[in-house]
């Protein structure tokens, strides 16, 4: 059973709050909160996020894909995961 975009967003949000935003009010992190340009994810934490996504969803990221085009917001991340899973068939 495939997870909805909503579910993916919720899972990633939980991970981000726990890993990089300890103590933060969950409501402050919206689906359009800028993560990379907003200073929440730096290069190291972006790599950690990608590792998490790869393990959790069985997808792979190429080096050039690790960028704000795909990972800037929770919405972007969920879309990227959905696209990758669709491509895998």
């Amino acid at each position: 059973m495939s997870e909805s975009t909503q579910d993916i967003q919720a899972t990633v949000k939980e991970y981000l709050l726990e890993a990089f935003l300890p103590g933060e009010d969950p409501d402050s992190l919206a689906e359009d909160t800028p993560l990379i340009s907003g200073g929440i994810l730096d290069s190291i934490s972006t790599v950690k996020l990608v590792t998490f996504l790869e393990e959790k969803y069985g997808v792979e990221f190429q080096a050039h894909e690790i960028s704000s085009d795909n990972l800037e917001t929770l919405a972007d991340i969920a879309n990227t995961i959905q696209t990758k899973r669709a491509a895998k068939g």
Binding site: T33, G39, D42
Partner: protein, 515 residues
């Protein structure tokens, strides 16, 4: 050779009936003639206790006419005075007095027993009260060293020492900065030229005597026959009372750290006061965030504002006059300015070679107002100075600066407050400056600690206005507009107030201990 005590002597001759010093907290004052008499009485007691030229005399007192008489009494005895923070633990003060083997200690009666116990009953004896000072508010006694208390020091040049100010060392043990009459006067005489004080001037004495800012207050005032207004440990932290004293004493020259000026802006304006006598405001000791400086200048538009810079080791070695008008959008702190006090600065790279003009490097200072050295620490002295090919002796300030287009030194930060993160050099002060531009941040302090995972963990401690601290995400987003990503703090920790040292600077050691 000119000596600091001569400044009092000269003014007492020129202005015997003029008020020299006022203690508003205890509602007492002394004229120049009276004050010189008190200093002479202290000298007599010191002489009776065996104090001779080249000795050290400790001062452990709340700020008062009595403690100032102790300072001048020691100087008149040709001894160097060693002032300590009377609110510090007795063990720390006993360490200092033992370290430089003071021959005698002028101490408040209520502190004498605790200090004496720490010093050792066999090393010092209580010679009894200094009764002539009793009417000035604080009963004082004199402790005198026995032969046990005053070992000799080989290799320490005690000639012409005027004062030893102990500063906290990174090793945890205070170290004594030795200034001679000549190094003190190089700064004091420069103040005469630069600021033209007059007998009509009334100086604030806000800094405690163990803090080097007090050198300007005490000696520039006394030299020019001005009136010195003592703002002691308690009064000094009560902005509404300070505001009232500035008005009632018609203070013309104010000198303090930026922290105190901020308090005056925030809490000192509840009642209207006439501060129109103010003509000069000096600040020193830490970076003044521009938004707070602007608020002070709005509160007091008339005076001229000067940023004085110098580690205790140099008295004051550069100065900068803040322009009366500057753009509203300016957020970067003002420069520390140009060389003064008969000093010369040099900006050097890691190889101790001067860097090309405009490039950043550590500031080295040599000249008139630089200390003789640290008391009895030959190895530290060897590290503290760079001796050039011509034998010039440069004090390494540990501060990183660059020279801007106007020829002013721009302060970039402490050498030891720079950390490398992911290969980038991060100046913690720069992060603080960025945080200060946030509208609800009132105080910010940033510390870095080693972190097994990321290498360096950067934590920002914030004091804010409003009921709720800004959210972590909001702060990170704010920082991302001001700073490169690698400089954004990992954690933002709200605090109701930042811990301060006894000299009202942010206490980074304490912050490092906070979880």
């Amino acid at each position: 050779m000119m000596r600091l005590q001569q400044l009092l002597e000269d003014s007492a001759a020129a202005y015997p009936g003029k008020t020299a010093v006022v203690d508003p907290e205890r509602s007492v004052s002394a004229t120049y003639a009276q004050f010189q008499g008190l200093a002479e009485s202290v000298r007599e007691r010191l002489a009776a206790a065996g104090v001779i030229a080249g000795d050290r005399v400790g001062i452990c007192m709340p700020k008062s006419i009595g403690s100032l008489a102790g300072v001048f009494g020691a100087l008149r005895a040709d001894a160097a005075y060693v002032p300590v923070d009377s609110t510090a633990p007795p063990a720390r003060n006993a360490f200092i007095f033992t370290d430089c083997a003071v021959r005698a200690i002028v101490v408040a009666e209520h502190l004498a027993e605790g200090l004496h116990a720490e010093l050792g009953q066999d090393r010092y004896v209580n010679t009894g009260a200094l009764p002539f000072l009793a009417e000035y508010g604080i009963p004082m006694v004199l402790l005198a060293a026995t032969s046990e208390g005053t070992p000799g020091f080989e290799g320490v040049d005690t000639s012409n020492l005027a004062y030893i100010l102990y500063t906290s060392g990174s090793t945890g043990k205070p170290k004594g900065v030795m200034h001679t009459h000549a190094s003190g006067l190089a700064f004091i005489d420069w103040c005469t030229e630069a600021f033209a004080p007059t007998p009509d001037d009334c100086f604030s004495s806000h800094a405690p005597f163990h803090f080097d800012l007090s050198i300007l207050d005490i000696y520039v005032c006394i030299k020019h026959g001005g009136k010195l207004v003592l703002l002691g440990e308690t009064l000094g932290k009560q902005p509404s009372k300070l505001a009232s004293v500035i008005a009632s004493e018609s203070i013309t020259i104010w000198y303090s750290t930026p922290s105190i000026l901020r308090l005056l802006v925030e809490y000192g304006q509840e009642e209207p006061h006439d501060h129109s006598a103010l003509r000069i405001v000096f600040f020193a000791g830490e970076v003044f965030p521009v938004k707070h400086l602007r608020a002070v200048m709005a509160m007091w538009p008339k005076p001229r504002y000067y940023n004085l810079y110098g580690p205790t080791e140099t008295n004051v070695c550069t100065y900068y006059e803040v322009p009366a008008d500057f753009p509203a959008e300016r957020t970067e702190p003002f420069p520390i300015g140009k060389d003064c006090s008969d000093d010369v600065g040099m900006v050097v790279g890691p190889d101790a070679q001067e860097v090309p003009r405009g490039e950043e490097g550590e500031l080295f200072v040599k000249g008139g107002s630089v200390m003789r050295g640290y008391w009895n620490l030959p190895e530290r002295n060897a590290e503290a100075f760079h001796v050039d090919a011509d034998g010039g002796r440069w004090y390494k300030t540990g501060d990183v600066v660059k020279i801007d287009a106007q020829g002013d030194y721009e302060y970039l930060g402490r050498r030891d407050r720079m950390v490398k993160r992911r290969g980038y050099r991060v100046e913690l002060g720069e992060i603080e400056a960025a945080l200060y531009t946030h509208e609800s941040v009132t105080e910010a302090a940033v510390v870095a600690t080693p972190d097994p995972e990321s290498g360096v963990l950067i934590r920002a401690f914030l004091n804010w206005t409003g009921d709720k601290p800004p959210s972590l995400i909001a702060m990170k987003q704010f920082c991302s507009k001001k700073l490169p990503l690698y400089m954004i703090p990992d954690k933002f920790i709200p605090v109701s107030t930042l811990p301060k040292t006894s000299t009202a600077k942010v206490d980074y050691q304490k912050l490092l201990e906070l979880e």
